[in-house]
Symmetry: C3
Subunit: 129 residues, 3 copies
């Protein structure tokens, strides 16, 4: 979780269909540290009785050419959901479209756009993807 | 997709069972750029109305010793299929057995053998694995 | 499989629930090369008629700060099970909590704790996770 707070500017979740059509409005939209903090707090308090857990599997990133816009990276991900009873299923898949900046030799996130392959979402999407 | 066209010589898909038995004939066999191009064109035109999408998750590669045969790499993969309705399931798993060559400091694919764990295949396997 | 024998000292499998509660007893506990060898032999002989196969997908590792305790690494994993008939399902997910040591420029495993997300386990867990 802490990793998400290190994100600098923009964190969005959207679906592949919305992304393809150029819709800007996503399912989650956070352009400040405070908004991300809010999501994390929601996760830690309101959802304290959540009965399932999640496991992220992050694939190999494909690093894009570094231009004046900085560095881009495309990284596929998969999230498995483990029900309290132990049953495991595929919860979500998609791709991170990241923009990073080299600040004195250290890479920092500028933007993370999470494009989910499915348009179906749980109504209570508190977990970060 | 573009990445596949950069493959130099040989691209094959087979099953673990066929591979173990030493059968050379695979499900897909392409030993030229033209044959790969054909597969890509099929994917872009004939299957334009395809209602599902696919997500590849590529695991950490295990790099083999580099000898006179060049460099070998074994990389596990998983493909999830996302139905138009949004349901996600495991479509395929397997391993890439790759051969690469160092050409003036740049690694180039010489061969990619895709060994699928399951012997069940969709009759219309147009997507590259 | 061979990779597991290179593990130096301690190999344990436990569940997320046990791990969170601080229980030391795991599902598999091996603190010597001989014990690991035993597990491998069981896999190669007793389970020779096993009808399913497994595929490990290893995510990107998160490397921890290297202190006097050596290097730590957290790596998510997913195991798919492929039934003889070809059907593929999610068998297990979890995280490797590894400790490594730098011995003259070569990294060696000191400990691997396998924390499975689910508490459900097959009664015959002979495959390494």
């Amino acid at each position: 979780m802490a990793g998400f707070l290190r994100l600098g500017l923009l964190y969005k979740i959207t679906s592949a269909e919305n992304h393809k059509r150029g819709y800007l409005a996503g399912i989650v939209y956070a352009d400040s540290r405070a908004m991300l903090q809010d999501r994390v707090t929601a996760l830690r308090t309101a959802n304290i009785y959540e009965r399932q857990s999640y496991r992220h599997i992050i694939g190999l990133p494909v690093i894009g050419a570094s231009g004046s816009d900085g560095i881009t990276a495309e990284t596929s991900f998969l999230v498995a959901r483990i029900a309290r009873g132990g049953q495991t299923d595929l919860f979500a898949t998609g791709v991170y479209l990241d923009k990073l900046r080299d600040e004195a030799g250290e890479l920092r996130f500028v933007e993370r756009l999470v494009v989910c392959d499915s348009s179906q979402f749980d109504t209570l999407l508190a977990i970060p993807l």
